[in-house]
Amino acid sequence: MEELSIDIKNLSKTFSFHEKETSIIKKLGSLVTTPKRNRVLSDINLQINKGEVIGIIGKNGSGKSTLLKLILGVLEPDEGSKMVTEGKILRLALGLGFDMNLTARDNIYVNGAILGLSFKQIGKAFNDIISFAEIEKFVDTPLKFFSSGMRSRLSFAIAIHAEADIYLIDEFFGDVGDEIFKQKSQKAFETNLLSGKTILLVSHSLETIYELSDRVFVLKEGSGRMFEDVDGAIEWYLN
């Protein structure tokens, strides 16, 4: 029997908010009036086995990021339960935590520490990161002078060294660079992250979802449906 890594049962999430008021009277009024409510996720059931790659697709605003935040534990559900049986969870998104005023060297250490690496591990991986990102001549240059492609390459190079048990990958293959770098990064991703780790992959690129996912979870207007067959999921999503 396969071992469960994430078990979500009947999970729902509603956000309460007040409209941004410009007049002082309306602002004061919002202190006593009932806030508006927006149900983002409704009755979600999701069982993920250890080592599985689950693609998550859905239109903007369908609740993909909220679902990831609930799994990560940043948000709490209104109803339902979430059980994570494995250890550390990490969300990978390009440009994670970069500070434009710091040099590439400083950003590698900060990002590495954020991604769970010790200084010793970052030191060992440092040269690999620099050469993978192809920024050897700009190690001590502040990131504000980098092109967006250079930043994306650096972000990717750091992220593939991260250490976690469950990865929540959010639009990670967005703007990684030219075609040659894309191929290189895809290969590095498969070698470093796809090796037996549990992965939830959020992407608008159906090609990426098709290539990497074992199963696909489709979110539509807050409700979710799991498809064993990737083709079927994409067809249902597009229609």
């Binding site: 940043v74 998104a93 954020i114 769970g116």
Partner: protein, 261 residues
Amino acid sequence: MLTNILRHIPENNRFERIWKLAQVDFKKRYYNDKLGLIWALINPLSQIAIYYFVFTVVLEKDEENFVPFLFSGLIMWIAFSEATKTGANILTNKKYLIENIQFNWIDLYLSHMTSIFMGLIFNLIAYFGTVIIMGVNLGSQFLLFPLVLLNWFVLTTAVVIILSLLNPIFEDIKHIWAIVILVGFWVSGIFFAGSFYLTEYKWMIHLNPFVGILLNTRACLLEGNEFYFSMFVENMIASFALLAVAVFLLKKYSKKVAEFI
């Protein structure tokens, strides 16, 4: 030097993360400017020059060692003011961390406070240089200064946590806090000895823990000032109680607050 010390500490990612975030925060505040760390010194020195002029030249206040008296009070207050004002935005500024990894939010506050504390230590070194040049002796209770600093640290951390939890939900808090800081600046005993409150307005000592912190800071840093043990004990108990409340609120409401970041 600290990096060398850290090399001998066993690998601990949590500790390293706190230290790296504090280091980067400190670096961002000063190193990118042309004058760098000198700005950390110019701020209190320029204030001392202004207040010295107003109190001794304009108001003809004649007090012995007025410069170290002002300096010692100002650096403690400026560090508190900076820590709380910037700390109120800590959750919004560190959103990229909160949304991407699982970690204890206490680490954010510890790194913020470490970074502020580094600036305070730098100013204290400048203070020691000043008193040496002026030929003024340190206070008789100098060895108790680490305890006063601990009191400052606990109180400031508690206030930072509470403000940072309120700020995303009720953004007006930063304007209210700016008024509190302004009032505190004039009533906490930066320009006059807080011992004045022992005879008049005694409630101020219980209401404003900074009166006691400044009195005891001067007992440690400037000759001829008395250390008030009972005030120190009362302040420590109040500061730790406030920190306990702040940590309780953080644990109970952090996920609710995350919805507003």
